[in-house]
Symmetry: C2
Subunit: 206 residues, 2 copies
Amino acid sequence: MERNNDKPQNASLKAYESIRDMILNGEIPTGARIVEDKLASIVGVSRTPIREAIQRLEQEHLIVNKLVVKPEEKELRNSFQVRILLEGYSAHCAAMYFTEHDLESLSECVRIGRTGSIDEIMKANERFHDVIVQASNNPIMIDMIDHMKSIIYLFRRTVISHNRPFLIDEHEKIYQTIRARDAENAERMMKEHLQADLDFSLHFIK
Amino acid sequence: MERNNDKPQNASLKAYESIRDMILNGEIPTGARIVEDKLASIVGVSRTPIREAIQRLEQEHLIVNKLVVKPEEKELRNSFQVRILLEGYSAHCAAMYFTEHDLESLSECVRIGRTGSIDEIMKANERFHDVIVQASNNPIMIDMIDHMKSIIYLFRRTVISHNRPFLIDEHEKIYQTIRARDAENAERMMKEHLQADLDFSLHFIK
DNA sequence: ACAATTCATATTGTATACAAATTTATTATA
DNA sequence: TATAATAAATTTGTATACAATATGAATTGT
């Protein structure tokens, strides 16, 4: 999810980002019915770009037949099952293919995770995962993980402000393992890390 | 890829299926430029459903900025890397959650694989994988694998008529392993099976 | 002959119109 | 009062119009 700051040039992208964000921050509540005309007037574009945005959001499973998806435990589990698989393997690849620059980015994320403001910490933690996914060097995998971000973000919304204990410690260990080019353990630790994330989230959702 | 025989009711789906099939069977050659108006008159609908179809095909990586994707070895490898991950894990899940009916379907596929006509064999082999993926019981994973089918099919187009030796034997072994509820080995064998498929395909692509 | 510039054409992005389908409200009937 | 039937309204799917962009051809100057 390239949370892009600069304003989107074309109406479709603007519509996509607007609607997605309205869903993610609860302005459009989960379970709500999506009506093209309403959104068109809210976003300030015609129905055409709204429809394209909806198609994209459907693809990301944030909208399922005109309804904003309601977070169910089962779906969070399913999403994480796939995410653990893909990001686990990304960590494996990252340990094999990382560049010096990747390494610097990762350690910078860990550092901010310990010293930054709440907001900086959250951004850095997201970025930590992004860097590893990118380092996998597989555009198809990168794309898939990217598509899963919205829905995972929605499900975790309630949790996201809390800061799970040990999260940064786990990041640091993963960083060191990647740095040591220990692909097997990097994969295993990433999987455990995400599993802990899931367990923590489930604790709040119920 | 639900190769649906009954005619699609709505124009978007019709457009999607038509364009996808034209690409897959080479009527629209790889590397060709996609022009909405042209396709609209070919398919016999307006540009609106054509655009929706294109968006979907872009999502499946069959079209990349108005060009039909050209099969490169690297992309086939990347796709298979993800597919091996996902279908491998599907096999793992299938071994844990399969129903009696799944088992019958799988053995039926193996049987047809040994006794059917060329066309029946191809269909049965595809179905073998479908049954396992469905048995994973994870709609998010099912959806992702489904989206990868078009591009893998495109890359393998040249190979698809050949019948790789041992393919059915491998299917049969996987079937037996799943039946024995041996999840670990089912996963390992599925991964090896798909890796062999990839290697075989690469042999032809170069 | 080749690069740069201008013009013409083709193509896309977006808005809008309208009919078909769906949903909601209203009335009639048991 | 509850249920079925009908009508009104909303909403979607598709086509089309038109302006903004992009592409490519023709023209000019070097």
